[in-house]
C-alpha cells in the first residue's frame, strides 16, 4: 500500500528496566485521522514519544513514507531529524515555550523552514485566527485552550505532512475541547495526516477514520472509527465506563437508570 504515510511495526520501548510497549504496530493512511485510545498506562504517550525518538526504541521500526514511494526509517533518528522529514508533534500539556511570546513560539516552530516564514504564518493564523490578537503575549499567560491552539500552530509552522497529537483534550473544558477537535478536523481537511492519542475515546473515535485500542502496551483492537464506537467490547471496556458513571449519578436522583 503506497497510500500509507507512517508504519509502526512491533515497537518495544520503555523506561529503565521496564518495557511499557511490548510490540505495538499501527498504520497511518495518507490524509486520514488515526486515533489511538486505551486506558491510563496502556502506553499511548510512550508510543508517540518512541515514534518521535524522545524515548529510544528497543525493538521494531518506524517508517515514514512519501508520496513518491520513497521511505525513511525513523528508528534511532533524533527528533530534529524527524521534524526535518515533515513530521511534527504537539506534546501533552508541555506544548508551548512558556517564557517566550506567542510570536516567538511560532518563529521557533518555523526554524526548519525559515525562508517560508511569512507565507506559513499567514496560513496558520488563517486556520487559527484567535492567535492573531495575542502575538506579543507571553505564552505562559494563555488559557489552557489557547495554549493548545498555540501548540498546534507552532507545529503547523513547519508545514508538516503528518501531525502527531498527544491528548489534545488534556486539561480542557468540554466546550473548548469541541473547538480543538473541530480545528483538528479542519487541519486534516487541508491534507495533513493526523495521528492522535486520546483519553476522550468517544469524541476521538467519532472523528477518526481509523482507530486502535491499546491495552498494557499491546494492540488490543483496531478498526474504522465508527465500527469501534459500536463494537461491543470497546463499549464494555472503555465507553461503557462513561455510561455506568452517568447511570450511577442518575441513580441517586431519580431512580434506576433508563436502559439504552
Amino acid at each position: 500500500m503506497s497510500d500509507l504515510v507512517l508504519t509502526v511495526r512491533d515497537l518495544r520501548a520503555g523506561y529503565g528496566d521496564e518495557d511499557v510497549l511490548h510490540g505495538v504496530s499501527i498504520d497511518v493512511m495518507r490524509g486520514s485521522i488515526v486515533a489511538v485510545i486505551g486506558p491510563n498506562g496502556s502506553g499511548k504517550s510512550t508510543l508517540l514519544k518512541t515514534i518521535y525518538g524522545l524515548v529510544p526504541a528497543r525493538h521494531g521500526n518506524v517508517m515514514l513514507l512519501d508520496e513518491a514511494g520513497g521511505s525513511h526509517d525513523l528508528t534511532g533518528l533524533r527528533p530534529n531529524r524527524i521534524t526535518a522529514l515533515g513530521v511534527n508533534m504537539v506534546p501533552q500539556l508541555a506544548n508551548v515555550f512558556p517564557d517566550m511570546s506567542v510570536l516567538e513560539n511560532l518563529e521557533i516552530g518555523a526554524l526548519p523552514a525559515r525562508e517560508r516564514f511569512a507565507a506559513q504564518m499567514e496560513k496558520v493564523l488563517h486556520a487559527l485566527p484567535l492567535l492573531r490578537a495575542m502575538l506579543h503575549k507571553r505564552a505562559a499567560a494563555l488559557s489552557g485552550g489557547q495554549r493548545q491552539m498555540l501548540g498546534v500552530a507552532r507545529a503547523l509552522m513547519s508545514d508538516p505532512k503528518l501531525l502527531i497529537l498527544d491528548e489534545p483534550s488534556a486539561g480542557l473544558a468540554p466546550a473548548v475541547l469541541e473547538e480543538v477537535f473541530a480545528k483538528v478536523k479542519a487541519i486534516n481537511a487541508t491534507g495533513v495526516s493526523i495521528l492522535m492519542v486520546e483519553q476522550k475515546a468517544r469524541q476521538c473515535l467519532a472523528m477518526a477514520d481509523y482507530g486502535y485500542v491499546l491495552e498494557q502496551g499491546r494492540n488490543r483492537l483496531q478498526g474504522r472509527g465508527q465500527d469501534l464506537l459500536n463494537d461491543e467490547e470497546v463499549v464494555r471496556l472503555y465507553l461503557g465506563v462513561q455510561r455506568r458513571q452517568t447511570g450511577r449519578a442518575r441513580d441517586g436522583r431519580d431512580g434506576p437508570p433508563t436502559p439504552p
Binding site: R78, P79, N88, P98, M100, E104, I108, P112, A155
Partner: protein, 295 residues
C-alpha cells in the same frame, strides 16, 4: 551625600553589569544542560590570568586582552563539556553538580601551582582617577564601562533577535519541544558552553580590572554572587539573570550609602546579597522573572 549616592550607583552598575553578563551564561547552562556549574567561578579566574598573560607579558591593550581571555575561556568551557560533562550526562543533577565542584577545585589548584598565590594587577595606572564632577572613576572602571556597554546590548540582542539566541532560550524553556520543533539540541548545548565560557571570560577579566589587584581566589569569591544572580533571575531565564545581576550589584553598593541608615559596612555587602536572596525565595521561590519548574 548626593555625590556618594551617584558614586555608589556607578560602582553598582559596573559590578551589576559584570554579574549580569556572567549570570546569563550560568543561567542558560543550567536551563539547557541541567548543570549547576560550581566550576564557573574558576572559569573567571582562568580568564583573569589569560587576560593578564596577554596584557602584562605580551603587552596587549585591555580590549585585546579581554577578547583573548573570552576566547580562551570559551574553549576551556567547551573542552570540559566534551571531555567530562557530556560523557557523564544522565547521572542526575546532584552527581553532575558535585563533579563540577571537583573540576573547580582542580582548576583552582592548577592555577595556584602555575601562577602562585601572590596578588597581580593589569598594566593600568592604578593611581589615576577621572573626575567627572559628580562621580570619580578609575581607569579600570572606565575600561569595564566601555567594554560592557558594547557587550551587554550585544548579548541581549543575540538572545532576543537571532535564530540561535531564540533557539537557546527555547531549549532552556522546554527541551523536548525544542527538539520536536527541529532544533538540534546537542549543537545548541555546545553553543551555550561557548557563550557561557566567553561571558565568564569577560566577567573574570572585568572583575580583575575593576578590583585592581587579584589572586587565584578571584572566581571563588564571586561564584556565590553569580549563583545568587541566577536564582534571583529565575533559574534558566536569560533576561531574568540580566536584570537580577544589575539589581544585585546596585543593592550591594547602595547598601553602604550613608543616607541608608548610616550605611552598611562594606564587608557586609555579600551578607546583604544573601539576605535579599533568602527573603525573595521565601516569598517568590521561582525567582523574580522565572516560573515554577519541576526538576
Amino acid at each position: 551625600m548626593l555625590e556618594q549616592f551617584a558614586q555608589l550607583t556607578i560602582n553598582g552598575l559596573i559590578t551589576g553589569t559584570i554579574l549580569a553578563l556572567t549570570g546569563v551564561g550560568a543561567s542558560l547552562v543550567f536551563g539547557i544542560q541541567r548543570i549547576a556549574n560550581f566550576a564557573h567561578g574558576e572559569y573567571l579566574t582562568f580568564a583573569a590570568y589569560a587576560g593578564l598573560l596577554l596584557n602584562a607579558t605580551y603587552g596587549q591593550n585591555l580590549v585585546v586582552a579581554t577578547a583573548g581571555a573570552m576566547a580562551a575561556t570559551a574553549i576551556l568551557a567547551v573542552a570540559i563539556h566534551f571531555g567530562v560533562l557530556r560523557p557523564l550526562r544522565g547521572r542526575g543533577l546532584v552527581a553532575t553538580s558535585l563533579i563540577t565542584v571537583g573540576i573547580g577545585l582542580m582548576l583552582r589548584d592548577v592555577i595556584f601551582m602555575v601562577v602562585g598565590p601572590q596578588t597581580r594587577q593589569f598594566e593600568i595606572d592604578q593611581t589615576a582617577v577621572y573626575d567627572l564632577t559628580l562621580v570619580r572613576i578609575s581607569p579600570g572602571q572606565a575600561v569595564a564601562i566601555a567594554i560592557t556597554i558594547v557587550v551587554a546590548p550585544a548579548v541581549a540582542l543575540l538572545l532576543a533577535r537571532t535564530p540561535i539566541g531564540k533557539a537557546m532560550r527555547a531549549v532552556a524553556d522546554n527541551r523536548d519541544l525544542a527538539a520536536i520543533s527541529g532544533i538540534d539540541v546537542e549543537r545548541i548545548g555546545t553553543y551555550v558552553w561557548l557563550l557561557a565560557g566567553a561571558l565568564a571570560g569577560l566577567g573574570g577579566t572585568m572583575f580583575a580590572v575593576v578590583q585592581g589587584t587579584f589572586d587565584p581566589n578571584l572566581g571563588f569569591q564571586v561564584l556565590f554572587l553569580i549563583f545568587t544572580t541566577v536564582v534571583l533571575g529565575g533559574i534558566g531565564s536569560a533576561y531574568g539573570a540580566l536584570m537580577a545581576g544589575i539589581v544585585l550589584g546596585l543593592a550591594m553598593e547602595l547598601s553602604t550609602w550613608s543616607g541608608f541608615a548610616g550605611g552598611l559596612e562594606a564587608r557586609f555587602k555579600p551578607v546583604l546579597a544573601f539576605a535579599v536572596l533568602i527573603g525573595l525565595l521565601l516569598y517568590r521561590p521561582q525567582g523574580l522573572f522565572g516560573r515554577a519548574r519541576v526538576f
